[in-house]
Symmetry: C2
Subunit: 636 residues, 2 copies
């Protein structure tokens, strides 16, 4: 986002932020050195994404291009672009440029760009919006084009996607072949807002608006296009009960009601997150109070009853989406990695829209837990779903037939700069505590704020301000809801004791060398769920700072179901140097094994034991075994 109205809060550009953080930098380095190369190998496998763009496939050939493939390559380009913004890597740069050339070569004369429809179903473009993911792929291409431009200054891909966006604008505009239509899997709307931010071309914002406003109006577009088309939808084979359950399938892609009338978070969770993100963007750009209210209502519905303690969302495997309120099973949780990433996107936009830190609290919960669990420590294996308990048979995979999560994870971590700070005309907001620096212009002065911290393993953040000249500015420091105590001092003196909308607000004239010391209390705490969450009944979780913990069999030499945490036991933090993380130990009980008989009226024998946790994000990286976030409690 290179431009933006001055009064609107916006993230800093990647180039204005540096990250040099003991927690995040190694993980981002792995994205560069392991994740992106491994994903590139997948994309370049014979007959896969790169090859498909050569348009050589003919009916009967193996490796029919897949409807999602442009989105895979686009997210990989996007992630690589963010990396290239900060790292010199000529090989990666050349590989990205080759991909962009292939995309440019696959683009049709009129700007259309979708291999599947070009070679597999020519003449059928924009006739199966409900299922065929065309606009979804277009959205990811647009995001990639903007990111590549922002990160490298090159305009090749931006030009490709602008031509495609212009075509979409014509086809979905008055008199176009898809007038009144919108995408089955939302994504292009938030991409078009990014394209508007990058180009200042108002028509992209208006197109995003139109796609959002058309959605859910009657007659329902997807049902009308189906009648017009007269053939089955791409996913009819999966959704055999479509005809009987029309409203359910409208909810599945959030097209059951006009978006301003929607009050409950329903359906496929990634679609929902991407759509709500665009709604928040448009509410901000257009000062659209109705759209903002809809976003706030939907947010409350999510966090009040449909959010996992890990920041995961979307409990149901069947629809990759939301179940009813409080339906948050643990071992059966879906909680797709992409959905938690989508929640980060939406939460950021809500925070920018409202200036409320509570949205960043949820962003942080998702980022450090339900997102980060999506990848193995070595950055080469992924969870699609992120259950909160396992019998021991759950493991990450190297790749998926529908490989949305791996590159989504890569692009989020590679663009972490976007989430740490926000700026507006009053100054700087520090949303996340990540060691490094931010540079921004304020009242004609260049200011730099540096952070030094052990976060999330320690709650102290030392900040330093440099400025070209003394200047008045507001620096807002987010005080997480989990921090029951905190102090904020400037040059050693405590200056603020209360929060405003979740922030400690430091409003003063800053001089070079000023220091800010923030101390957030980081006691490990027990957390309980609303009693309507059946999977958590009689159970407790442990959280310290933003980190939700779990127990793994490998740390406890016992199946986790045999362990119970004593209600009164002290929670002790232990640093594990080898693994580079903190775990928590506390007294508990172990149900010992019986002998000979399966059922007995003898009371079970329990023995005292120390129960040891590990951060949820770190699970399933060692020996296989059972795991649970929600632990049984014992009185003694």
């Amino acid at each position: 986002m290179l431009t933006g109205t001055a009064t609107r809060s916006r993230p800093l550009a990647i180039s204005d932020v540096t990250i040099a953080d003991a927690f995040w930098s190694p993980r981002r380095e792995i994205i560069h050195t392991s994740t992106l190369p491994q994903q590139e190998r997948q994309l370049r496998s014979p007959g896969q994404q790169f090859d498909a763009l050569r348009l050589a496939w003919r009916p009967g050939d193996p490796h029919e291009p897949h409807i999602f493939w442009e989105s895979d390559i686009a997210k990989w380009i996007e992630a690589a672009s963010y990396v290239l913004a900060g790292e010199h890597d000529p090989q990666l740069e050349a590989s990205v440029d080759e991909a962009i050339e292939l995309l440019a070569g696959a683009q049709e004369e009129d700007g259309y760009l979708n291999t599947y429809f070009t070679v597999v179903r020519p003449g059928e473009r924009f006739t199966d919006l409900q299922d065929a993911h065309e606009l979804y792929c277009a959205g990811h291409l647009i995001e990639a084009g903007v990111a590549h431009y922002e990160a490298t200054g090159k305009i090749a891909l931006l030009n490709v996607v602008r031509r495609y966006a212009d075509l979409i604008d014509r086809e979905f505009g008055p008199g176009g072949s898809a007038e009144g239509g919108y995408d089955g899997h939302q994504e292009v709307e938030l991409a078009l807002v990014k394209l508007y931010n990058a180009t200042n071309e108002d028509r992209y914002l208006r197109l995003a608006e139109r796609l959002i406003d058309n959605r859910g109006t009657q007659p329902f577009y997807f049902e009308a296009e189906r009648v017009r088309r007269g053939t089955p939808g791409y996913f009819d084979f999966l959704f055999e009960d479509r005809a009987r359950r029309a409203d359910w399938y409208r909810q599945y892609n959030q097209s059951h009601l006009p978006v301003r009338e929607q009050t409950e978070v329903v359906g496929h969770s990634v679609r929902a997150m991407y759509m709500y993100s665009a709604m928040a963007d448009l509410a901000s750009h257009n000062d659209d109070a109705a759209l903002r209210s809809a976003c706030e209502r939907l947010w409350n519905d999510l966090v009040d009853s449909k959010l996992y303690i890990t920041g995961g969302i979307g409990a149901l495997h069947s629809i990759e989406g939301f179940g009813p309120a409080y339906h948050l099973p643990d071992a059966d949780a879906y909680a797709e990695t992409c959905a938690a990433i989508g929640l980060v996107f939406w939460a950021q936009r809500m925070a920018l829209l409202t200036g409320e830190a509570k949205y960043v609290d949820v962003l942080e919960r998702a980022l450090y837990n339900g997102v980060l669990s999506g990848s193995s420590e070595d950055g080469t294996c992924y969870f699609y779903g992120n259950p909160l308990a396992s019998d021991g048979d759950v493991q990450r995979s190297e790749w998926f037939g529908v490989a949305c999560c791996p590159p989504n994870f890569a692009r989020l971590l590679a663009s972490l700069e976007h989430y740490v700070y926000a700026v507006d005309d009053r100054g700087l907001t520090v949303n996340l505590y990540v060691a490094g620096a931010a540079t921004f212009e304020h009242n004609g002065q260049d200011l730099t704020l540096t952070q030094q911290t052990r976060y999330p393993w320690g709650g102290r953040i030392d900040m330093n301000v440099e400025t070209s000249a003394d200047t008045e500015a507001t620096i807002r420091l987010r005080i997480p809801q989990w921090a029951t105590n905190w102090t904020a001092a400037v040059n050693g003196s405590q200056v603020v004791r209360e929060t405003q909308r979740g922030y400690a607000v430091l409003d003063r004239t800053w001089s070079s060398g000023d220091t800010i010391t923030l101390e957030l209390s980081m006691e490990p705490t027990r957390v309980w769920a609303d009693a309507r969450v059946a999977a958590a009944r009689g159970k407790v979780a442990i959280q310290r700072g933003p980190i939700v913990h779990c127990i793994e069999e490998t740390d406890n030499a016992a199946p986790v179901s045999a362990l119970a945490l004593s209600r009164e036991a002290q929670l002790r933090v232990m640093h594990d140097h080898a693994r580079g993380l903190d775990s928590i130990t506390a007294g508990g009980t172990l149900e010992s094994r019986m002998t000979d008989v399966l059922y007995t009226s003898r009371e079970p024998e329990t023995s005292a034991i120390d129960v040891r946790t590990t951060p949820y994000f770190s699970w399933a990286n060692r020996e296989r075994g059972s795991m649970t976030v929600w632990m049984r409690e014992s009185a003694t």
Copy 2:
């Protein structure tokens, strides 16, 4: 079983037992008045089982005959026959006779009888033994023929099935088309033993022996027949990984090893039970010590690690069968009704073979819990699987595409007479406590023993002996393992204080008017599972006498996961007159609902509450709601 070696323990014939019991008689009356007519309507629906026997189906017609259909109609005839043994019902009798005429009409010249192969795949008989269920259907027809003969004295169906058995004997004998073969779904083996018992034709016993002995020998028959046939098996579409997992699919139908070498209960649970039943029969008939040892090893494996507290077996939905040891999930339990019924069959035979009451303890556990739960109170809806916990979305169904369970349930309850008593040359064994009477001949005298009891709601059984003349005989009374105290008195005097193989043995000269009073202590007790059963960790069940209890939401006005039973609370028995059963009430705690926030570090509020149980067999007969057998425990 009309005949049998004098020294071998055997059940009494249906005609020698009457049941007039407050618990069982109404349930058996429902089988007669509701279950059988409802099943008959299903079987007589246009194009269904009855119609198929007219052999009018032609390729392209609707309602292609199904490979299981003879077994459905056979089990219905069998159940109806048992009812007709005790009840005058000309309409039912005429309906059964019509079914038998249709079966006789459908029988081919050479004795073959299977509609599916006759009209759908002529010329392919006995070529897909692994999948096509031909011998399974044959077995049920044979059981029906024997039952119909035993109950009514009519020989029409017995003659039909003898001709079919003779054909099978030829085809599976030396030089036959299926020499060395055996059935994919065991059943015919135990049926052939029954046919031998009814006819004294040794060849039927020898055929059963051969089918049992061939099983699991190498080269594996099913793999050889597949190569010979050269076409896919009937269920290849279900079992796509067959080629890769040969041993798994051998275990699926217990053909992985010769039966005498099998040590672990594996695979499809109904197939296993029917096979083990035949093995026990043959071990008894042939005094086959190796077969008996195999049965005892398999039994121990089952009861030590694979038996639900309800007597349900077969945890896995995927194979309708056994998982690894201690894999006994509750909400995800399969525990098919037919498998619990099959366990009753096997347990009875083990008790007859060994004279040990411990087998009847398991029989009783299955009968009063995991079998009885299979039907609704009104006898018209059925569970295929019998989970031990539910969120509230589990309900019984009226019928199934593969409708094995409903008529299996009917035939077991309608033949309960077979399970109450056993006789041998020493006298009578009372295995189950069911009000009514048994008449048997001993040393040339006719003896009658009557029972009066409120069992299972009370532990007192009053028995009375009538005899044509004073006679010496042994009467053995089963002392259930759950009865921690018991007394047995004859004519008011306590005569025995110890058990022999689980029985109180009353060995004396009996005169008419002698009374026996058995008192079994029936305190409700807490039961815990071996700690390796993950679903039961930190949880407790309640059992009283043979009845396993559960808690249902409808009795407690709260989701069952919100309830915990206090470890020290007294368990109080309450009789529910309206429902005709006992429930148990005990102090516990309710986790109350919180407000506003999904996750909190405030300790959950609990309030004292009385938790109320209901017998497991009775669940899911009232308002929908959650249910669990394993209850959380609280210290207070």
